[in-house]
Amino acid sequence: MDNLFLIFLSAFLVNNIILMRFLGLCPFFGVSSRMETAVPMGMSVIFVMTLSTIITWFLYQFVLVPLDLIYLRTVVFILVIASLVQFLELFFKKQIPALYSAMGIFLPLITTNCAILGVAFLNIDNNFGLLSSLVFAISSGLGFLLAITLIGSIRERLENAPIPDSLKGLPISFIAAALMGLAFLGFSGFMGLSL
């Protein structure tokens, strides 16, 4: 139990997937200019990350390892994630239109979100069991949501701020992210945490 809580804290704050691990930066800067896109993107990431973690974990432990096919890991994982996202998109469109209108346009973007694949790899590299992997995935997703919400609200304010022309847009967002990262650095060593 203790261990799971530490995994949660570590993935959520100390080793925040975006600010500390640099995974999933494309959607982080791509859709964070407004809050109304940032939050649903974060939600979709949590959702897909959790599902893909369950699937890739079982695939790895019960198919790739027993058959000695670990060298197909990258190929298999990315295919699984891509098909999962496609499937979810179709499924939501047909069955749950409400969810589709909330997450739909973000789903295709998620295929090439390295956070999803990265978390799948990290689970294996860290030798996590199923439960730990799940906790790790969910808390990484929550960390993503936290970071993207924070930067979304900062960027909304930045729009009206007097910024040098050459720094407008992405560069100033990077600087904002750097300052956020500095604040998050303060969490490291928190409860002796590190991963």
Binding site: F22, S166, F174
Partner: protein, 202 residues
């Protein structure tokens, strides 16, 4: 054809212009050597996936192209992954999960889809070279800035070369450690992009 090459470096620069492939750019550039290694690994994948996709562009069915691209790219990524593990183990450990993650570097899939799929292999090769070089240069420059400011040395190759001492001993002992921590990555890329924008505007 040389136009394609130059465009790949500057006009279509993955990081500065398209802001794609940011994750490895920020994560591994704590030293110039790591940046160079990452850049070359991505370039290798880019060149070969571009070549193969362009060579077989008439056979690949339109509606199945994306999964096929993904498999091709993932295959070359795995080749790079294992080759690095075998022959440059230290670099492989340093780059860690970011080597297999080249597969989701949107830049590579983007070039496959946007360029290689409707150009002949010659052009696709030049595009791969140009884009790869543009990517590598930025990674190398970022690594250089961060390594020099953060550690006071340049081009340290672990186990082989201890790096040029750029500043004196006093600096090396109390360097700007922030630059090799994650926020330093964001600051460096903000700086590079700002400078690039300044010149592009003129």
């Amino acid at each position: 054809m040389s136009r394609t090459f130059i465009d790949g470096i500057i006009k279509n620069n993955l990081i500065l212009v398209l802001a794609i492939g940011l994750c490895p750019t920020l994560a591994v550039t704590t030293s110039a050597y790591n940046g160079l290694g990452m850049g070359l690994a991505a370039t290798f994948v880019l060149i070969f996936s571009n070549l193969i996709i362009s060579a077989f562009r008439n056979i690949i069915p339109d509606n199945l192209r994306i999964p096929i691209f993904i498999v091709i790219i993932a295959t070359f990524v795995t080749v790079v992954d294992y080759t690095l593990k075998a022959y440059v183990p230290f670099l492989s450990v340093q780059l860690g999960v970011f080597i297999p993650l080249i597969v989701v570097n949107c830049g590579i899939l983007g070039r496959a889809e946007g360029f290689a799929y409707d150009h002949s292999p010659g052009y696709a090769l030049m595009d791969g070279l140009g884009i790869g070089l543009g990517f590598t240069i930025i990674l190398f420059v970022m690594g250089t800035i961060r390594e020099i400011l953060g550690q006071g040395i340049w081009l340290k190759i672990p186990g082989m070369f201890s790096g040029f001492k750029v500043f004196g001993e006093a600096f090396t002992n109390s360097s700007v450690i922030l630059m090799i921590l994650p926020p330093g990555g964001f600051l460096t890329i903000a700086l590079l992009m700002g400078i690039f924008n300044l010149f592009r505007r003129k």
